[in-house]
Symmetry: C2
Subunit: 558 residues, 2 copies
């Protein structure tokens, strides 16, 4: 595979820095933005401190590292995992499908060069999830990494800086900074997850929870007609370059096994999937042919590739389907409609529900988190907050308990399309039923009439629900309802959700959230254009827009 | 002047309709969207009723009217005004500047062909404002027009349609429809304004108030370097084509008198200005040379051209200026900084404050509304909701009373940059101090770190504050903080704010607000692509995005 067109290189006036751990021998990657000095009216030169910001872009923006996609990223967590002495290296892949693909010579030209044939798995009788460790009182290197990362060095800032008191809406965020023990405790309580498959050691640890920075997910994925592996890898790199905290690979076309291998090996952020999609490909799209056996093999296949979390629509039950009959848009979730069709065809309960404990026992062996899918999320305002939606949510609460009993980390997916005044009820219901498991929503979109602008209709709902406590927002692109996002759409979507998530961090009063805003505003007041560009979520666009009407160099420096 | 490049023509599958009044002989313009039939699985053909939507685009989208910019739009309200027998036609312009420009032969080539030299003015001892009429119990044609317009024929719909119960946050919106008497009562209470200068008879009446549909304003305006009169008129036509309920002409370059004449004569929506900007041009930008006499002449000049509302920063007082010293971004409002400079130079109180009663007496003669400017609005999150901002707001409350005593319609301008959790306080304070005069905010932007995306950061805040009760949102374009918006930016900004305003209408539960969303969702569920495009706020973009990945004709019809 050719991998020439992958975006690399640092951000403007920025450098990668690494903050050392105090408990563990770890180095936490961040981005430091250098600022120009201020000269006051008396001619005194006053230094503006550099601003450290959360950085999801991985080694791609470290000028000292040359990423080689054929080799994959450095295995940051490999030794941490091995040091725990609770995993074994298998002799070969455990899934039939994985083995079949590995030995198919026709796929040699597509295959990742250094594909692992000896995945890790928990030793017999051992649990390897961050949730298990947290319950046992162990602060793992991953947990310390996350604590340092969430702080963005705010704990090192000496000078006083302005920040409005937040309104956390029930969140319990520490006042000054995040400690490793706080991270452990939140994971132990199930209020946060740290997705970290033992077979994805390339990932930089991150946390998803109501008492941490709001995260965003970017969906990528090929379809038969639109993309090559290279394009898909670049779309992933592009998504986390601009701020995607996780990516979901929703591929439905050919060679999704091989595409996923390339993505996981080169992804510094956790990767999520919907295994049902691939299982359906394996039965040539015939929903009625889906079976637990095929699904199970797919789970194992993906667990051993290193997928960090699975969306599993296990809460959509037979009894819920009649509740959707009078809906305006029926069942819009792809996973939901596949399972509804399966249930109605076989006259049986959802096999993901009946096998949920089996699923958890597999996931626990690799520390793959489960994201309980909302197959009945509303597809329009008219269907928002209806019995079908909340009925499923209640079932997700039941499944949350089962996941936790098996030491599987769990998050809950949410809508969808919801008018502004009905957003809070979604958060309230989720908290009431799901024992504070992190909420992960798609928007919600606050109106149906703006196709072409649904990154905005959903950013409005997303910012609001994140303020109310949603831990991660799934981005929506401007192509939503209309077509597949291209590279520009991915960027626009990521930045839009980044700003929505940040707006929520500000509203909740997360420690240091306002620091970058203050630096931007000061640069603005002092006409330090270059600093404004450097501090912007999207430096490229800010500079381009500026140069369209004021292209002179002189306008930029002072 | 050449006026070839003005956008005209109807929207896709739409026609202009005119709904007749019952009290007055009036015809209210709306847009009706035709939909395709639905064929159910049994082959039965079911008709989808056309959807009527609010239409700000004026005669430009009526296929039966050929707009001639040189002549201006039809004078819809002329006879209504004359029938009241409380105005007189003047022999000539009352302002020195207006007369000077009119007789300057060098301007002949720029001048609007049919410029009125005999403006209307209230007869001695008469009041001509909609507020005055409302207080007297008179339902004017303008008020009936507005009632019919707000309903969008929802009162004629026989079938039951889904709409969630709203959460009006203290607004008192009628349950089923808006009546002319309700319009009158709201205006009489000062809770709504109907901007309608007697010298702008071309304007289609509209209303701004908490118990009506949320409105949006689009700013346009030339600057010395960037635009011609033609470009500026087209920008105006473009803005209201896409949904601007009012436009503000913020021109600062040359020939702004002549540009404004072209805009007003061709605008079906109310036009607002900041007279201070033009007054400053008249003294060559020397703030210290500004005087009441020059300002007063400018007011009269613009009143007689037909400007419908003026932003007047009369609440920024001497005592407030010291409150801004420790701000991060000082005074960012242009009007505010001009006045602060004037106050500090002359060591005198703001002349707009000391002459506010004189101002009202002028405005009352033409029914020009006053939009009390927030010269001390915060320019960044750090400065949000501070003493300076709320101090000025309190002064605006005082001025509201004076305006009303003089039968001048009044609205209040608001911020700016405010984190989400501090937005509600702005609405609460405004309601507390300004006796329910309509609130008109600029966003607010909910973070400072996303230049290039400030239409979105402000749409988030805008949707939220509109839900809380803001009556009109001033749009922000993606060029905010970076440069001047071009035509594409204007459209993007208008649509973005249109969707934010609509999200608020939905949350408040305005009668019929969900009807278009429902129609869109049904079309989506039935894959009626053409209907989705027709129902979209931006049909062009929806179609373009769709065609990028699914260009086949076959995909569109069913």
């Amino acid at each position: 595979m050719k991998t020439k067109n992958i975006t690399q290189g640092s951000f403007p006036n920025s450098q990668k820095i690494y903050v050392k751990g105090k408990i563990h021998n770890i180095e936490v990657a961040m981005r430091e933005i250098e600022l120009a000095d201020t000269t006051d009216k008396n001619g005194n030169v006053i230094k503006n401190h550099p601003v450290t910001v959360y950085d999801t872009s991985g080694p791609y923006t470290d000028e000292n590292i040359e990423v080689n996609l054929e080799k994959g990223l450095p295995k940051l967590r490999k030794q941490w995992i091995l040091d725990r002495e609770d995993v074994e290296e298998l002799d070969g892949l455990s899934s039939d499908y994985g083995r079949m693909r590995l030995t198919d010579e026709n796929l040699d030209h597509l295959r990742f060069d250094h594909v692992s044939t000896q995945p890790l798995k928990a030793k017999e009788g051992k649990y390897v999830s961050q949730y298990y460790y947290a319950k046992k009182g162990i602060i793992t290197p991953e947990m310390e990494y996350v604590a340092i990362r969430e702080n963005q060095r705010i704990d090192e800032i000496k000078e006083k800086y302005a920040q409005h008191k937040g309104c956390p809406m029930g969140a319990q965020i520490p006042e000054t900074h995040i400690s490793p023990e706080f991270v452990r405790d939140e994971i132990a309580k199930g209020r946060a997850i740290l997705p970290a498959n033992i077979n994805h050691p390339e990932a930089e640890p991150m946390i998803i929870g109501r008492n941490f920075l709001v995260k965003i997910n970017g969906n990528i994925g090929n379809s038969p007609t639109t993309s090559s592996i290279e394009e898909e890898v670049e779309k992933a790199v592009w998504a986390f370059r601009w701020g995607a905290d996780t990516i979901m690979d929703l591929s439905t076309g050919e060679n999704i096994h091989e595409t996923r291998e390339w993505i996981v090996r080169n992804s510094p952020v956790p990767v999520g999937t919907v295994p049902l999609y691939q299982a359906l490909e394996k039965v040539n799209g015939k929903v009625e042919d889906l079976s637990w056996e095929i699904y199970k093999d797919t789970l194992i296949e993906q667990c051993e590739q290193g997928v960090d979390y699975f969306t599993i629509h296990a809460g959509l039950l037979w009894k819920h389907i009649p509740m959707t009959i009078h809906r305006t848009t029926g069942i819009v979730s792809r996973g939901g409609s596949i399972l509804a069709k399966w249930i109605l065809h076989h006259h049986k309960e959802n096999f993901l529900y009946t096998h949920f404990e089996d699923i958890c026992k597999i996931l626990a062996k690799y520390d793959v988190a489960v994201s309980l899918g909302d197959g009945l999320r509303p597809g329009c305002l008219a269907d928002a907050n209806d019995k079908a939606q909340f009925g499923e949510l209640e079932a997700l609460g039941h499944l949350t308990k089962i996941a936790r009993e098996n030491f599987v980390q769990v998050i809950i997916e949410g809508p969808g399309h919801v008018p502004m005044h009905m957003i809070k009820e979604n958060m309230d219901e989720q908290l009431a039923h799901c024992d504070e498991a992190p909420f992960y929503t798609l928007g919600p979109l606050v109106t149906d009439i703006a196709p072409g602008y649904d990154h905005i209709t959903s950013a409005i709902g997303g910012a609001m629900i994140a303020w109310h406590g949603t831990a991660m927002l799934c981005y929506v692109t401007q192509k939503e309802h209309l077509g597949l996002p291209n590279r520009d759409d991915v960027k626009e979507g990521v930045i839009t959700f980044k700003l929505a998530a940040h707006a929520a961090d500000l509203a909740k009063g997360f420690p240091g959230a306002q620091y970058r805003d203050n630096a931007m505003s000061k640069a603005r007041f002092e006409f330090r254009w270059r600093d404004q560009f450097s501090l912007a979520l999207d430096s490229e666009k800010a500079m381009k827009f500026h140069d369209e009407t004021l292209p002179d160099e002189g306008y930029k420096s002072t």
